[in-house]
């Protein structure tokens, strides 16, 4: 039974607090004001960063979400394993991204830094693979 998305995000936040507190501080600072909807297969999670706090919930109030990303587990692991590039996934409609361009760029930079951390953290790697 794969790990559920919301539980994964909660565990990830816990991991970042324990192992990467300085990097988490900076991520929160850069993500201030974001309400981000992540859809993975049929699961939804909303990450809100407000007043230097991160909350993870199942849904957001109407009109509050400023980033929406739709994808699936197959694509997630194909991308993590280098089998598919993001541009190819976008072109194939496997990855759908909505939001204003500046917020999207901000989000991309944050996401890139989180991915970088995964390369030196076996905890992060094995937690991610529990999603599969």
């Amino acid at each position: 039974m794969p790990l559920r998305l919301k539980r994964f995000l909660e565990e990830l936040l816990k991991l970042l607090k324990e192992d990467f507190p300085a990097q988490l501080e900076k991520l929160i600072e850069d993500a201030e004001g974001l309400t981000y909807l992540q859809v993975l297969d049929d699961e939804r999670a909303v990450i809100t960063v407000k007043d230097r706090r991160i909350t993870i919930t199942g849904k957001a109030r109407k009109g509050e979400t400023n980033i929406r990303i739709y994808t699936n587990r197959t694509l997630l692991f194909d991308a993590l394993e280098g089998k598919v590039a993001l541009a190819e996934a976008l072109a194939a409609g496997e990855l759908k991204v909505f939001g204003d361009p500046l917020t999207l760029l901000r989000c991309y930079a944050i996401w890139e830094r989180v991915m970088s951390l995964a390369r030196t953290s076996p905890r992060f790697y094995f937690l991610t693979y529990e999603l599969r």
Binding site: L80, E81, G82, L86, M115, P122, R123, Y125
Partner: protein, 371 residues
Amino acid sequence: MLSSRVEDTPWVDSFDLPSVFDPRLPYYKEWHDFVFFDRASQLFGLLNFAIHGNPYDSKRGYGAVLAFLVDSGGRTHTALKLIPLSKLKVTPFTPDFHGEGVASVSYSPGSSSFSLKGGIDQIAFDLHAPVVLAPVTMSQIGLEVLFKNRLKEEMLEVASEMASIWDKWVELPRLKVTGTVSVGGTSYSVDTTTGYQDHEGGRFDWGSVAGWDTGVLLCDPSLPGEPERVSFLFYRYGASKESSYGGIIVRSSDGEERFFDSEKVTITRSGEFAGERAYLPGVTRLLYPDYRPSIPATIAFSGSDESSDSVEIVFTPRAACTIVVAGMRDESETTFNEMYCNATFDAKLDGRTYHKTIPCWFESVRPRRWG
């Protein structure tokens, strides 16, 4: 002791697990590289079995198995799998590496042979690898070089830098490798005497390493015109990280050995490799979609010594796998370009001439440049 015996393999090649009190535990890393090329099936293989990070802390340490194969059609196949410490067994008493459910390396002292078994993604292997030539440590090579050559400042500098970084740098110059490798459902039979293994380890962050170029021609001395062995190492060092010292060791089929050091060797690189490339870990492609480190189309080593002996090796990469590893302390990254090459070997040694194209493994390591 300047020589080892095949029987010494278990202790020379075992894992050097650091003390649990070692302050540099987070930087510990150690691995076996097994390399082979089967001339009948034209299959090249590099299998790496590694431990990274604190080996006593499941949150900070892990095992990894990596495979880089190039098939007869020149297609590259790669796979990388991480192993949690709870499923990994290594000891300081044997070269064994048991990654439950992924891959294992078992050494049998009775038959002086390795057994390599595993499956990662679409790649599976079941290989038997008896040790043919005794292990050689970096200290042994260094002492041989010092005994037979005029002492140079660069020799001492590079020896001191390597000793400060590496706890272990050992090679098994020749292994027989038999068995099967399957890639995406296609099975290849392997039966070669050109296997090679090295084993390195240390407690350092990647940012402290300036890189190296090393490799080995996978010679078959039973064939006419091939030497017993050809290997090379040029190690980069110093504050600027641009100084380099090393050389080429050539051992003729009658056992005579020659060392051509940096002073006697000219290295030229030309063109840009246009063949197939792979990137590991997969997330590299996600993080740096446009990253394409320069790999020359040809690399030529040309050397000669006072006795009019000479060696020229022209490496032509056929396939490459770029591995990007991240540092722990800062944002430094190191790029390993693992290459399967054709090496045209031209040499004149003790009046004997060689001219042969020999398959080769070439590893070029450099700090990754940003931007």
